[in-house]
């Protein structure tokens, strides 16, 4: 599996770190216990095309949104992911 970073070009997988499913959004502080439980622990665990957050720590150190098929490892799109994880990207 190789990932085409929009900033660095095609790089090998070892340069990247996986954060996980890009879909869960941190709930508001007053959203309640169920929303927090859902966000922290429950997963769609998709068998098929999934949007994920990856960190290009071995390259430009940007967070990326990768569209990948979990059944085949085929990657159909890679975009900058502003606001994902700890780092910000001015896309």
């Amino acid at each position: 599996m190789r990932i085409v970073c929009p900033f660095c070009g095609e790089r090998e997988l070892g340069e990247f770190t996986y954060l996980g499913d890009a879909k869960p959004v941190r709930p508001a502080a007053d959203a309640g216990e169920d929303a927090v439980f859902d966000y922290v622990y429950l997963r769609d665990n998709i068998a098929g095309v999934m949007n994920e957050n990856w960190y290009h720590g071995g390259g430009c150190r940007a967070w990326l949104k990768v569209t990948r098929n979990t059944l085949t490892h085929e990657i159909s799109a890679v975009e900058p992911a502003p606001g994902a994880g700890a780092a910000k990207v001015d896309a």
């Binding site: 090998e12 070892g14 996986y18 922290v40 665990n45 068998a47 979990t70």
Partner: protein, 417 residues
Amino acid sequence: MKYSIFSLARAALSGHKNWQRTWRDATPKDRYDVVIIGGGGHGLATAWFLASEYGVRNVAVLEKGWIGSGNAGRNTTIIRSNYGLPGNTGFYELSMKLWERMEQDLNYNSMVSQRGVINLYHSDAQRDAYARRGNTMRINGIDAELLDLAAVKKMMPFLNFDNARFPVQGGLLQRRGGTARHDAVVWGYAHAASGLGVDIIQNCEVTGFVRDANGKVTGVETSRGRIGAGKVGMAVAGSSSRVADMAGLRLPIESHVLQAFVSEAIKPLIPNVMTFGAGHFYVSQSDKGGLVFGGDIDGYNSYAQRGNMPVMEDVCEGGMALMPMIGRVRLLRQWGGIMDMSMDGSPIIDKTPVDGLYLNAGWCYGGFKATPGSGFVFAHLLARDTPHEEAARFRLDRFRTGAMIDEKGQGAQPNLH
């Protein structure tokens, strides 16, 4: 049929042409008291204990492929009970005790070999952690020995003791740990369960659940027709989320791929199961001579049953750091299995919020050693509707209530467990 010295001699003297089938390949009936989805080690063990221990014999095991074609046939065969947290300690020791009597119970040679499991330590902090774990084990009646460097050198003189970065300082040894032949475990349970009347139905994929007006599960839709059930148990490992989704459930589980490796056969070298605590590498030698080894999961969601190069490289580096002399041994084959990684690294054995549906999942990559214990406690839950005392903490709602069993202390990050 029952194996004995006479049946083996008879089969041998007749040129091995008269071996009987070891289990019936059953055709589905209309209804069972219990239907178990998944013909892996856990599903088959559950069926066996339902029939032998809890007297529930009208049982079917449904397998979408052939039995043992999933993770049971892919794992690295290690058995042990060296756990430190309440919930895990007692459960894995229950499982270990069942391993020790499995061949007698099943009348099947599952090649259980108590050759010892040693976790090497490489720093003072790691020694302290292993000493603590060993003490926890011994308080709970489980065997554990903390070995110093001299004892490790005597036992495994071939290790690289001059590693400047991760010098071997000693190890935590569980002598009762070891290996078992994974295929024979599956076949043994199938053999024994089938003998007590359990129907093992292969090439039978579950495509949906049948529910009554109250939402209770009353059966399953399969590729071989509708099958009614008093209760349905799920033991489908990497497919837990997908099967639960058919019942409208979301689980605290991510599916990840774990790779394992076998080298070409060499002369007897490694006397036990070894783990390289500094780099997460584990290895044993099969009875055929191949080195069987593995390391971390690949670390991203996958259902692909194949891994990628960075982990392969990392695992081989771990092996080389420990035993530089294996550098010229060729890798024979590699494979990947799909792990249902739970959010705290521990299993889930519980009723689900859906009436009539029971869950056995979240084994991460530690499911094989749990096979007999998992079957025993899941059968208890299915037969009695209450959790077995050694599995009472493996609750589905423990993430909501804060009663996690986080053996590695990693938090809700499945790819770090």
